[in-house]
């Protein structure tokens, strides 16, 4: 009996779009299982239903409001973390004794899920805007600062010597050597920080909030509104994808001076 040789054309249309095909197939099977009644609608929604409910919720403004709420927490918390962690990271990286002094604290916090601080934070600043901003800040601050420090430590000594030879002031050396040299590390810190910030904001909203996508999911789940739960999850997934996309775009812009 002749053996059938399995062959797969790695350059064909199917190969190039295999990711999209997988997603569409997955959604189609899900929808079919839902339609023929194999899925209990108490526990699981269906793709088309999620889209329908999502559109309605955007039209009546409910979802937009929650989304803006979450984005507000995220942007303020992450923005503050990014700026302060990069600045402090450059300073701690530059003045090694200072960095070494803070290192145990930074490393300990990096390994800890910062959401555990939520009870303390609500005790200190209440359950309002500040609590979520603080959680987002703490979630993203540590990966960014630690990456920035590593970036400064791995600067090319020869470039620092060049700056010295050209009579650069400490501030000029910082701006023209330390910052651009550490940038690839900073960007990867920002990427990790953004991911953790998203986790932080959603978790915090689920526990202590009166708004936001996290709150919306928790609330809908408590009301057994499974379609809304799924809409919330999809919105969070999309936020994650957008954040990843933004970072990729930034990395590509950076990559033009880096040899492949």
């Amino acid at each position: 009996m002749a053996r059938t040789r399995l062959s797969f054309d790695h350059t064909g249309w199917a190969a190039r779009n295999i990711g999209s095909i997988a997603v569409v197939s997955f959604l189609a099977i899900w929808e079919i299982l839902y339609r023929i009644g194999l899925i209990n609608p108490i526990f699981l929604s269906s793709p088309l239903k999620i889209v329908q409910v999502c559109i309605t919720l955007f039209q009546n403004g409910v979802l937009t409001e929650h989304l803006l709420f979450t984005l507000g927490h995220f942007t303020v918390g992450f923005g503050l973390a990014a700026v302060s962690a990069v600045v402090l990271g450059l300073v701690f990286g530059w003045y090694r004794p200072l960095g070494a002094a803070f290192d145990p604290f930074l490393t300990a916090m990096l390994g800890t899920p910062r959401i555990v601080l939520l009870p303390l934070i609500t005790l200190w600043v209440g359950v309002g805007f500040a609590s979520k901003v603080l959680i987002v800040f703490l979630a993203s601050f540590f990966p960014i600062i630690l990456n920035t420090i590593i970036g400064v430590h791995s600067l090319d000594r020869n470039l620092l010597r060049v700056a010295g030879a050209f009579g650069a002031t400490p501030l000029q050396t910082f701006r023209t050597v330390a910052l651009p040299g550490a940038l690839p590390y900073i960007v990867s810190g920002l990427r990790i920080g953004m991911g953790q910030a998203l986790v932080g904001v959603v978790a915090a909203e689920m526990f202590v909030s009166t708004g936001g996508v996290g709150y919306f999911v928790a609330q809908s789940s408590a009301n057994f509104n499974i379609d809304r739960v799924f809409v919330g999850i999809v919105v969070i997934v999309l936020m994650g994808l957008m954040i990843t996309g933004a970072i990729k775009w930034g990395e590509n812009r950076l990559a033009k001076w880096r040899s492949e």
């Binding site: 090319d156 060049v162 009579g167």
Partner: protein, 263 residues
């Protein structure tokens, strides 16, 4: 060429601290005068302190005794009155060729339009027209070293200091760069001090070759190179050139333990 003294090192002693608290003398009671517009090459065996001396002139290396005067003023630290070219091109990888060249001008606060003009001028001088927006990784080793040279020249230094500038290049590129360096030097009428371990390179480039000996580092011979300029590469095959080489080699061989043992 005139007889104005550009650089005057007076009884310079440079020491390094060792880990056990003792000191090692890298340069001992060395004196050297360099005239305005002169091309001086310093040669010597490894460890003779030639790079340390250059580092002191650049202002990186503190001096224990003596002083180094540039245009009559004592050198206290690095500055833009000296253009330094290291063996490693050390270009900023995130800057384009042009932006690398104008680095010093940027630090000096020269306005944007002027430094661009100056940058283009130097790009042309070092023969890199058309490469202004390339990044360092897109350039060959020889091209990177040209950018390095242009970056040092851009600030119009009073003195150029080159530390084994072609040491990392292959033999062919190296010879080509020597020719280029002389062409650029002729066009800029700079005063140059170049450190090398390559005797042929020193004789080919210099008005005067200073030979240093090791432990402790001091000058053991100074030879005026009276070869006519411009110097084509073929001059290296002339008997005059080879006589200079042999003369200098003798001083280095005399000093080098490795060679003494081999003989």
């Amino acid at each position: 060429m005139n007889d104005l003294t550009k650089l005057h090192a007076r009884n310079v002693t440079i020491t390094y601290p060792l880990k056990d608290g003792k000191e090692v003398t890298a340069v001992s009671d060395l004196s050297l005068k360099v005239r305005e517009g002169e091309f001086v090459c310093i040669v010597g065996p490894s460890g003779c302190g030639k790079s340390t001396l250059l580092g002191a002139i650049a202002g990186f290396q503190p001096i224990k005794h003596g002083e180094i005067l540039l245009n009559g003023r004592a050198i206290k630290g690095p500055g833009r009155d000296r253009g330094v070219v290291f063996q490693q091109a050390s270009l900023f990888p995130w800057r384009t060729t042009l932006d690398n060249i104008i680095y010093g001008l940027e630090l000096a606060g020269v306005d944007k339009k002027k430094r661009r003009e100056r940058g283009e001028e130097l790009l042309h001088l070092v023969g890199l027209d058309g490469f202004s927006s390339h990044y360092p990784y897109q350039l060959s080793g020889g091209m990177q070293q040209r950018v390095n040279l242009a970056r040092a020249l851009a600030i119009e230094p009073s003195l150029m200091l080159l530390d084994e500038p072609f040491g990392a290049l292959d033999a062919q590129t190296r010879e080509y760069m020597q020719v280029e360096l002389l062409r650029i030097w002729a066009a800029t009428s700079q005063t140059v001090i170049l450190v090398t371990h390559d005797i042929g390179e020193a004789v080919y480039l210099a008005d005067r070759v200073v030979v240093m000996s090791a432990r402790p580092g001091r000058i053991c011979e100074t030879t005026e190179i009276r070869l006519p300029r411009p110097r084509p590469l073929e001059i290296k095959r002339s008997s005059e050139f080879q006589a200079y080489e042999a003369h200098i080699w003798m001083f280095i061989a005399h000093d080098s333990e490795e060679l003494r043992e081999a003989n």
